[in-house]
């Protein structure tokens, strides 16, 4: 079989384009949406925490968290990627769902133990539990963002203990903004 260099170039272009399309559609690029959604929620929520009064901030966070949970559930269900991993148990999805449910219950229990918490304590506890979940998912599923999870947790702790007056602002800009940037970085890399 013989073909011209032009035909070879066209075939290689077709391969490249298909590889890119497949990666975008079915590979792990879907996870970037979660980062962007929760990055936007953190950006809005923590900015409000920094500049607005307490009763209003509580309501804003409640709305944002419900919105985030609903969006995450919808994205998670729609993200049925059409890919099956034969070396992974079909029950993995249910186990991961159970893990997150238990993590949230433990988070609620930790908050109940220290009740009534200071608003910053409450934020810090939730951040630590979210980062625990993030790191666990990363260790179990891909390893790609483990260090980012550790970095975000370290950033939150540093801001909490070293610059408490600007804790919310730092979490909004570097935490929320960082998650959005990381989300778009993952998307562009794929």
């Amino acid at each position: 079989m013989e073909i011209s260099p032009t035909e070879a170039e066209q075939a290689l272009d077709a391969i490249q384009s298909m590889v890119k399309k497949t990666r975008r559609a079915v590979a792990s690029s879907g996870s970037y949406i979660f980062l962007v959604v929760w990055g936007v929620i953190w950006l809005i929520g923590f900015t409000c925490s920094q500049f607005l009064a307490d009763p209003l901030v509580g309501k804003i966070w409640a709305v944002l968290n419900i919105l985030g949970a609903v969006l995450s559930a919808v994205i998670g269900i729609r993200m049925n990627r059409g890919v099956r991993n034969t070396s992974v148990s079909p029950l993995l999805g249910q186990r991961l769902g159970l893990f997150w449910l238990l993590l949230w219950l433990f988070c609620a229990a930790a908050i109940a133990v220290i009740w009534p918490p200071e608003p910053k304590q409450l934020a810090m506890i939730i951040i630590l539990f979210v980062m625990t979940g993030w790191i666990a998912m990363s260790l179990l599923l891909s390893m790609t963002s483990t260090w980012w999870g550790i970095a975000f947790a370290a950033l939150a702790l540093a801001a909490y203990f070293l610059v408490p007056d600007y804790f919310y602002l730092i979490m909004a800009v570097l935490g929320g903004g960082g998650m959005i940037a990381l989300g778009f970085y993952i998307r562009s890399r794929w």
């Binding site: 073909i3 260099p5 170039e9 034969t86």
Partner: protein, 97 residues
């Protein structure tokens, strides 16, 4: 010098193989997802998959998910190898220009 593979070189089969080699070794792609990616009809895709399966380049796995029939397609180690050789041959032709 690596040689071109006639079975793989057909445009739709080339794109099928490109999609499948993108997945990790233990992963399989659902038939309908593959069809959407390629923008072809069920019959057309089925015919090309049969050719690739007969050549031993892909494995077709028919199963049930939540009581509904689902077909998954994966590239075999032999398929991955010949695809890599085919790509190498294409690059060699392009470089000889």
């Amino acid at each position: 010098m690596p040689e071109l593979n006639e079975t793989i070189h057909q445009p739709i089969r080339l794109r099928i193989m490109a999609a499948l080699v993108t997945l990790k070794q233990d992963e399989e792609l659902d038939f309908s997802t593959l069809r959407k990616l390629l923008d072809v009809t069920d019959g057309n895709l089925g015919a090309h998959l049969r050719k690739l399966e007969e050549a031993g380049y892909i494995a077709v796995n028919k199963t049930f998910v939540e009581r509904k029939p689902r077909t998954y397609v994966a590239v075999t180690p032999a398929g991955r190898k010949v695809f890599d050789q085919h790509v190498a041959a294409l690059k060699a032709i392009l470089n000889s220009k």
